[in-house]
Symmetry: D2
Subunit: 188 residues, 4 copies
């Protein structure tokens, strides 16, 4: 069965909520969704050690990366995970998997794009194929992608609660990546 | 007298409104503000030709660059101006001037940061000193910087009218750059 | 027959050389390559008008965007083309096509990444799927990707001649995108 | 006495070498240079705790941030430090200090700009004033800034030894920031 790994770090729980909605979207397309959370307990002196999680990513057909935007980019915890992926990088063992990204911040336009662009750089290093949001901001009938970013899902919370439209957009992103996996792996 | 040049391209008039508010902020600090608009008529085959405008920038103590965010960055017209500045680049004739940037888009987080980061790259090429917004999003008593960007002023319009708080923030940015000019040129 | 459009602006001819090598790589995979050059003559007052070229892109299965890095990003001429693509953006008529990017500059690390990231933002706005270079810098037996960028092809010229390894890497990028097209469109 | 803090994380020692050359450049201008290294031992579960270092930054007139480029951005260890600076961010206690950045990677153009741009975003969040390299790549008589980046110092090492020209450029960057501090604080 095809699968999509959702790898994320959450501080207050809002990123986890987005990850869950993405997983819902993936599953709605009859694709397995793996919710892989990054925990501080796996980080020693700034180094992330969790071979099992890295192996799970390797078996997935697509990976959706997520982190809150904190001081202008992904959290240090997420970056620890990214750094740990360097072993797989030299052999390009994640190449040609689809990839996407999501983030949330406490402002509408508070450097979330910086986070998404970093996730894109990380995916490019691994030779992955980046899928953004194919919803032109302001042109969706359901109002999804309310903040208008397309390189990835940018969400905003002001009170530690995720906006329902952002959750809906997250679900859409999960479904989109799942559909890409189905479309492009049906050839076999 | 010290002066701040505001160099911008405007399509619908909203960027011009922001430029005017920035100028108001500059003048409130008893510093001259030059509003220098980039016009399509000065562009032939993609090349901008207006030596006078480039000379005016050269005489200013600081430069604030502005453009709508269009298809993910500054407009082609603004880029034509930037390309034309290459002659001054090799001799670094704008070095050590303070610089700042502003942009507006029709979404809250629709790649405006990409525009601001480009303006920062342009300023860095010229050896300029980049000043962002020293207002932490969500922490200002007057509510300024409502979208939370700090690398530059990011505004958003949904109906071709600029939000009054964005204009207020623009005024603040102008005043900030003017104060930097006064502070750092009072030594001589 | 499947096709890849290579859309580029060239100033000195080096970007055109890279485009030709990319086309060679595409054709080696038995996929049609369309070399679509952006000319200043099609730009009036900063606006690009060439419906035929935009239509050709629409019929292609993948698009590889290229521009020299000039004053920190794509040239104004390329940006005029990007701005003209906004009509297709609102309807997302290029969505789900594969996309990639290439650039060249006169320094090893002179903001070419800024250009590539802009091309990625443009592709994301169109809902395209971004493919970088799946060659870890320094780990290729043939020495390709000598500068080590992976988000796109970054080349460098010091004397208006393109380095043979950069041309070889360009050919590889064209072949890679062609293979992605073949792999992912064989399902139908 | 005026001072410049150089805050960096080093993995193999090359970033430390650059930091030392920057310090040499600062001291040549009769300004105190503080070399503040970030150590993994101060990071617990991804969180950096070292109030003394943050206090030292607060007393400095300028801050030069440095990190190797690892998996496309600053190291997780550096990011832990950046995340820890968030307390000072809400009060903007580092505002109006000059800031600059440096990085090193094992490729000529392997995403070092992504690192520098992140450092710029971090500085902007703190309301700092960003100074890049005022040396146009290829136009310096001494050959400094051999890689041509200007948003910050980008260096490259292939054998864990820093290129002498990169060290020379680092020294220049330190001197430049020190001169800015002297020029702009002589007014008082």
């Amino acid at each position: 069965m095809h699968s999509v790994a959702i790898v994320f770090h959450s501080v207050t729980g809002t990123t986890r909520s987005l990850a869950q909605s993405i997983a819902t979207g993936v599953r709605a397309e009859q694709i397995e969704a793996l919710e892989l959370e990054i925990f501080g307990a796996d980080i020693q002196h700034g180094r992330y050690e969790n071979t099992r999680l890295l192996d799970q990513i390797e078996r997935a057909d697509a990976v959706i990366f997520g982190s809150p935007t904190f001081m202008g980019s992904v959290t240090a915890q997420f970056k620890s995970f990214a750094d740990a992926s360097s072993e797989r990088w030299t052999e390009l063992r994640w190449a040609d998997k689809f990839a996407a990204g999501f983030t949330i911040g406490s402002n509408y336009s508070g450097d979330q794009l910086s986070t998404i662009q970093y996730l894109g750089v990380l995916a490019a290093q691994h030779g992955m194929l980046w899928a953004g949001l194919d919803i032109a901001g302001g042109y969706d009938e359901s109002g999804r992608n309310r903040l208008g970013a397309q390189s990835g899902l940018i969400a905003c919370t002001t009170d530690a609660v995720v906006h329902p439209v952002d959750l809906q957009t997250a679900q859409y992103l999960g479904a989109r990546v799942a559909r890409l996996v189905k479309k492009y792996h049906s050839a076999g």
